[in-house]
């Protein structure tokens, strides 16, 4: 009897809690919120992508990354993606720059953001060698931007079609972006909680002393404690900054840190757009009032336009699935034994930013099983130097490379039954190298999958 009562109470408490949770989730999604944080986000996103694309073209990376290579590495499931002709690749970049500009000014917004998403994602899928976490972030943000009415104010579209004009939108349109930025920060910090980062100050110990010559502060980088200070501060920053940005009392102060921190990383490291993306995106954490104050210079933002939004079940489910996926997916590396920084299974799409300095040497050999003839592969005949460098340290590329070699030998010399083995040595974070994969295994016999890659060897201690 007593037991029964207790159970009943516990059940009730739990169901109350769950109900409370769902209620706040409803608020999180459908509470009315000013559109202006989203407007700011849209404009800066468009400008930044336009700049990033121009920079990409200007630096000659279209040639280097898409025209020079003869072969490309693919993401699992996207092996079918083919590169365009050289002029096609350039036109595509021009198109991305153009639609980015359209996004910024809010012109033909829906078409522009969909085009941006498709074109940008396509470019990233051509060669997995070029994978960067901030490209992945851009793809995620562009997906979100497709579904939110970011052109519903302060845009050409809303001038042309006044009926689309809005001042309030359901909160999920903004909160989902905030959530994504929190995830990015948190997991970037989480990835730093590894032995090398915390207790060897790696790889910052390698990278910081490269800047001994910068004025005023340069000399600090010669000391090992500077690397420790940077490592621990960096980990703490990434793990917590999102929380300080969320909380209204600490937000202003936190944002100053955001700007300083990312400007510093921009100056010290070769990380492209990432700092700028974070500096501009995090403005979305600021309050409705904060944003509206800016737009009041240009228009009369109505003071109160309270309108509650209907609870929309499909949106609720989709947003929930997206959030759960973003929380769980970066954790998948725990399904594999060993150090993810070494074996790189579950490494990508998990916000592992700046946590390794790795290099290696790979010598591949092919054997014609019918004639017994054997030879070494000249990697530079197939891969650019950048691709070779990346292939050496990423096991799925090693498999794909073996297939590329095989296809070439079959085509050129009609070799049907080949065996490809490789001596691959990799050095991680200032260590001496260790043999990376089993050199007795025929790489052609292995099918790439998400299963544990047993042929990756443990590094020697």
């Amino acid at each position: 009897m007593l037991d029964g009562l207790n159970t009943y109470n516990v059940k009730e408490i739990i169901s109350e809690k769950i109900k409370g949770f769902f209620e706040s989730f409803n608020l999180f999604l459908f509470q009315p919120k000013s559109i202006f944080p989203l407007i700011t986000f849209r404009i800066l996103f468009g400008i930044l992508m336009c700049y990033g694309t121009a920079r990409f073209i200007y630096n000659g990376w279209v040639d280097k990354l898409f025209i020079e290579p003869k072969h490309f590495f693919k993401f699992y499931g996207f092996e079918w993606v083919e590169v365009l002709s050289p002029s096609g690749m350039y036109y595509l970049q021009y198109l991305i720059a153009l639609v980015s500009f359209f996004i910024a000014i809010g012109f033909l917004y829906r078409i522009s953001i969909i085009t941006f998403f498709l074109a940008f994602t396509y470019v990233e899928l051509i060669d997995a060698t070029n994978y960067l976490n901030h490209y992945y972030l851009v793809i995620l943000l562009s997906i979100i931007l497709i579904f939110v009415p970011a052109n519903a104010n302060f845009s050409i579209d809303s001038k042309l079609f006044p009926r689309i004009k809005k001042y309030k939108i359901p909160a999920w349109c903004i909160n989902i972006i905030i959530f994504q930025l929190c995830i990015t920060y948190f997991f970037a910090g989480f990835a730093k909680l590894n032995y090398d980062w915390m207790f060897r100050a790696m790889p910052l110990s390698i990278w910081l002393p490269e800047h001994l010559n910068i004025p005023l502060f340069g000399f600090l980088f010669k000391y090992q404690w500077t690397a420790y200070l940077f490592s621990w501060t960096g980990a703490f920053y990434d793990l917590t900054i999102w929380a300080f940005l969320l909380h209204y009392r600490t937000r202003d102060f936190a944002y100053i840190f955001v700007v300083l921190f990312h400007l510093m990383t921009w100056y010290l490291f070769n990380i492209g757009l990432f700092p700028l993306i974070m500096i501009t995106s995090t403005l979305i954490f600021f309050s409705d009032k904060w944003h509206e104050r800016i737009y009041n210079y240009f228009m009369n933002v109505p003071v109160d336009d309270l309108k509650s939004f209907k609870i929309n079940k499909p949106i609720k489910i989709i947003v929930a699935i997206y959030m759960i996926f973003q929380i769980l997916f970066p954790l998948r590396s725990f399904l594999y034994k060993g150090n993810v920084l070494w074996h790189e299974q579950g490494y990508r799409f998990s916000w592992r930013v700046m946590v390794v300095e790795k290099s290696g040497t790979a010598i591949f050999r092919i054997k014609d099983l019918e004639t017994g003839k054997e030879s070494e592969i000249q990697n530079n005949k197939y891969l650019t130097k950048f691709q070779e460098k990346q292939m050496t340290i990423q096991p799925d590329f090693i498999l794909q490379y073996a297939k590329i070699i095989q296809a070439d030998y079959e085509k050129r010399f009609n070799i049907k039954h080949a065996e490809i083995k490789a001596d691959v040595f990799v050095a991680l974070n200032k260590r001496v190298s260790s043999r990376f994969i089993d050199n007795n295994i025929n790489l052609l016999e292995i099918k790439n999958s998400f299963k544990e890659k047993e042929w990756i060897l443990e590094p020697i201690k």
Binding site: S205, P209, W232, I363, D368, E374, K430
Partner: protein, 365 residues
């Protein structure tokens, strides 16, 4: 509050405890980089370029003598000094940065195998640019052909310079190539001594473009070229359908290939050890670089020695042994692969230097 202070103290202790492990540090060790650079510049690089310039000057004299009087004796003299100059070349080819890079010395003077057809076409045409980028009809390989390969016998070769329909063409080409070698070596040698040395010695640190980075990158670039072009490709180890390509060895016509190869490996070793002075080996030791408990510097030095002893087992000339004694060639090729890993992956990792000749900067994250 006191809890916070306790926490800060704890963290500081942790940090300082970790800091004691000095082998993790890339910037703050007591190793005097300038001493290393000065030793390399003053006792290895500058004297080697100086000698190379002198041997090229001797070679140029002997070639002029041969052109003026194409006798057997003068041909022998020219060949003699060609051998000396080419062997000395191996001692400077590894120093491919700085003044060398500015004039593209290695591409101008030692692209092999020589493109016979193009070279002959140049002579017939009488117009050519010996300094054009990445050509294969100039430098030492061209001399190798002109002094040893332009005819079957010595008499045939001499006749090219005495009674061929285009005798003047051959003479001019021979003299032009020799002049180019002398001029370029003079340029680089003087530049090192007069201008480059000071900046080289003081350019400390580990970033791309520092002297340490230049040294490590250039020693690797040379080693990879040696492994690939001086042995791998001609032996057919790098192409399954082609058995062996003896005519692709360095110095095919004179048959100096194996001597040159050994000289190159010796030069690489000396570059690594810094001769009798401070070298990369000492820098590795300073970083306590070990592989399975053995000092990495010792491993690398021993590996150079096993490469050299395997090379000594290959019968002369290399172009014949590639076919007739391929197991001895294979035996020498194996330690070259191991050494590549030590030099290109282990050493740069421990010394915090990136191999930059394989990758121009793009974004990372």
């Amino acid at each position: 509050m006191s809890k916070n202070i306790a926490y800060i103290i704890l963290v500081s202790i942790l940090i300082f405890a970790s800091c004691k492990n000095d082998s993790n540090s890339c910037g703050n060790n007591d190793f005097d980089q300038e001493a290393l650079f000065a030793n390399l510049a003053d006792n290895l690089i500058i004297p080697s370029f100086q000698t190379a310039k002198n041997t090229a000057s001797q070679l140029d004299n002997d070639i002029i003598n041969f052109i003026n009087n194409p006798s057997q004796a003068n041909l022998e003299n020219a060949r003699q000094s060609f051998g000396t100059a080419y062997l000395q070349w191996q001692r400077i080819e590894p120093f491919s940065f700085g003044p060398s890079e500015t004039v593209q010395l290695n591409n101008k003077l030692n692209n092999f195998p020589v493109a016979e057809v193009l070279l002959e076409a140049n002579i017939s045409a009488g117009t050519y640019n010996l300094e054009s980028f990445d050509n294969y009809y100039s430098g030492f390989p061209a001399l190798d052909y002109l002094l040893y390969g332009v005819g079957e016998t010595d008499a045939d070769i001499i006749s090219k310079y005495t009674m061929d329909t285009n005798t003047e063409g051959y003479k001019t080409y021979l003299s032009d190539v020799s002049t180019l070698i002398l001029n370029q070596l003079t340029l680089v040698s003087d530049d090192w001594r007069d201008n480059y040395r000071a900046g080289f010695v003081s350019n400390t640190g580990t970033a791309a473009g520092t002297s340490l980075s230049q040294i490590i990158n250039s020693i690797n670039e040379n080693f990879e070229k040696t492994r690939r072009a001086r042995l791998g490709i001609p032996s057919g180890f790098q192409d399954i359908e082609l058995d062996a390509l003896p005519e692709e060895v360095e110095a095919f016509y004179s048959g100096l290939s194996l001597q040159l190869l050994k000289a190159n490996i010796n030069a690489s070793k000396e570059y690594f050890t810094g001769g009798n002075g401070v070298g990369l080996d000492d820098l590795l030791n300073e970083n306590e670089a070990r592989k399975e408990n053995e000092l990495l510097s010792t491993i690398i030095k021993n590996q150079y020695d096993s490469i050299l002893s395997e090379l000594n087992n290959i019968p002369e000339p290399l172009s014949m042994s590639i076919i007739n004694s391929s197991s001895t060639v294979q035996n020498a090729y194996v330690p070259l692969a191991n050494q590549l890993i030590y030099l290109k992956t282990d050493m740069p990792s421990v010394l915090c230097v990136s191999i930059t000749y394989v990758d121009n900067a793009s974004d990372s994250d």
